[in-house]
Every structure is written in structure tokens, then in C-alpha cells.
Symmetry: C2
Subunit: 160 residues, 2 copies
DNA sequence: CTACGGTAGTTGACACGTCATTCATCACGG
DNA sequence: CCGTGATGAATGACGTGTCAACTACCGTAG
């Protein structure tokens, strides 16, 4: 258990802001994932992988490259690809030139699943997220997210 | 697979805003959970349950009431309480007056774990979230979250 | 060629979440 | 009192995520 030193205590407002932010974004994520699953029978992770592969040249990608692209650990991706392969959404092929490598290849079935899921998924994004916010709020949400991403990336770069 | 009807297609800006928002908030959530686990050996779920119980009268709560309070399905809570009980963080007792009921009771060990985790957890919230944002951004984030929560709650109320 | 550190990927163990099912108990009409 | 439907909670199956270990291969120094 690593130890970290604390600074100033959190104010009530800070704590409340944090709580509503994290709980609501989490609920939004879970709701969207549930919709995707119910509408199209694929998980949020499946969707992420299918989308990335569908945009890759020749609809295939080196496993570690794919992991980087979607920000997953290799192990997580490996487990997920295993499950997706079992369902026929992707298949694995050896990488040319490097016998360690594996490629994930989008199958026709995978393409179909992605295409089938897109419209309901976009609709859910609109209904659950976009429709809720004014244009100003949407811009603010984006600004907050981009700021947070920069902050997290900077911390991660420092920490390693 | 339920069918939903789509409306207007998403613009590039809408899609980008959505993506950075959901991916960043998800990463924030995962990072915070990892910190909590590394710093204090408890998960985000553990923390949520411990916190709620610690604030309850007599540090005990009816299982279904606890589930409502933290917005979890009863099944999820049941599984989680099982794991927490195995580790001695809580124990279960029969509810007085309703023999179907179960109460979750915070153990001394659970109180200790919660107290031990609070300072590093608050510190992580400050470091990963509060420090990243200007006061205006923090207010905007809260406003967005509260708006989204209201929207999600309204949809959920409609849908049932 | 061999040794060796680094890289790519997989695997196993375990915690977590969801869904469907099951079980005991409660409330209430008869 | 009995039957019946609703409620509180637990459970099993399965997909998901993380961590640590492991295998296989690469490149290079000697």
C-alpha cells in the first residue's frame, strides 16, 4: 500500500461537486452500456474494438497497436478478443514479420454487428447525453473533459 | 433486442464531445478506484458501502434501504456484502420485525478501514479532479452533472 | 552461436456487475 | 386458517477488468 501525503481538507462544495460528477457520469456510462447491450447485443467494449478495427486499413490491426489506440492494457484486450473471437466478431491471425505478434481481424459478422448497432447507439447518445444539455453546457462538458484528460495524461507521464 | 427509432445523425462536434467526455470520465473513475485500492486495499464499492453504513444510526442498515441509498441493485449489493463479510468489513444480522430482512452492520474493522482510507482518498480526489479544474470549470462540471442526473432520473421515471 | 534483457501476447486467479432464478416470508382476501 | 401474489434477499452463470506469472520471440553484445 503506497502512501500519499494529503493537503487541505475538502470543502463541502468540493465534495458534493465531486460526488455528483462521478456518480452521474458513472450512471451515464452504465446506462449507455446497458442500452447498447439491449439494442444490439454487444457490449461497450465490443463496440470500441469493432469501431477501431473497422476504421483500420484492411480492417485488421496489430494487437498491441489496437490496445494503444483504445487505451487498454494488453491483458484486457487479450481477454476481450478471446471472447469476441468465440462469438465470431473477430478472428486472430499471425502478424507478418514478427512471429510474436498477433493481428485482430474484423470478420464480416463483426462488421454487420457494428453497422447494426450504430444507429441505436447514436440515438442513445443523443437521448441520454446530448438532449440533456444546452449547447453551452455541452461545450463546457467538453472543455472540462479535455482539461481533465490533459491533467491525467500529465500525471501519468510524470509517474512513469 | 428492443428497437428504438433514431433522429438526426450526430455531428462531428457532438460525437467528439461525447467521446472525450465519456472516455475521460471513465478513465478518471478507473484511476481513482485504482488509487483507492493501492492506497487502502479497498475498492470503490467497498468505500461506498462503508461510508453509507458509517453514517447510519447505530452503523447498521437494512439491506434494501442501503441498496436504495447508494443506487445499486439488490443483487449487486448482496454479492458485494458477501465479499465484504468474508473480509470482516461488515457482518449480516437478521432484521427485527421482518424475518425476510437482513441488516448490514459495520464492524470495527470496517470502521478502521474506512477511516484509514479517507485521507488518501480525499487527496486523490483533489489531485486527479479538483486540482485540474478552475473554480469556473468545477462549477460547470457540477452543473453539467446535475443536469444529466435530472435528465436520467426523468427518463427512468418515464420508462417505468 | 549463446546469453540475455526487452517485447508481444496469453493465461489463471480473483474481484466486480448483471440477469434470471430461487427461496422464505409477508400481507391480505376469502 | 388457507391460498396467492408481492417483497427481501441470496445464488449461479456468465461477461468484464486487473494483476501477476508465464511463454515465445526479438535484438544485440560477447
Amino acid at each position: 500500500m503506497a502512501q500519499r501525503q494529503g493537503g487541505t481538507a475538502l470543502t463541502r462544495t468540493e465534495l458534493d461537486s465531486w460526488r455528483v460528477f462521478v456518480e452521474t457520469t458513472d450512471e451515464l456510462r452504465a446506462t449507455l452500456a446497458g442500452r447498447l447491450q439491449a439494442d444490439s447485443g454487444i457490449s461497450a467494449g465490443d463496440y470500441r474494438v469493432l469501431l477501431e478495427l473497422s476504421e483500420a486499413p484492411d480492417r485488421r490491426m496489430r494487437s498491441s497497436h489496437l490496445a494503444d489506440a483504445i487505451g487498454w492494457e494488453r491483458s484486457r484486450l487479450s481477454h476481450h478478443l478471446g471472447r469476441m473471437e468465440k462469438r465470431g466478431l473477430i478472428r486472430r491471425e499471425a502478424a507478418a514479420g514478427d512471429n510474436r505478434g498477433a493481428q485482430a481481424v474484423l470478420t464480416d459478422e463483426g462488421r454487420t454487428a457494428l453497422r447494426r448497432s450504430s444507429v441505436p447507439h447514436f440515438h442513445a447518445i443523443r437521448e441520454l447525453f446530448l438532449d440533456a444539455l444546452t449547447p453551452a453546457q455541452l461545450a463546457a462538458a467538453r472543455d472540462v473533459a479535455e482539461t481533465l484528460r490533459g491533467h491525467l495524461d500529465a500525471l501519468k507521464a510524470d509517474g512513469s
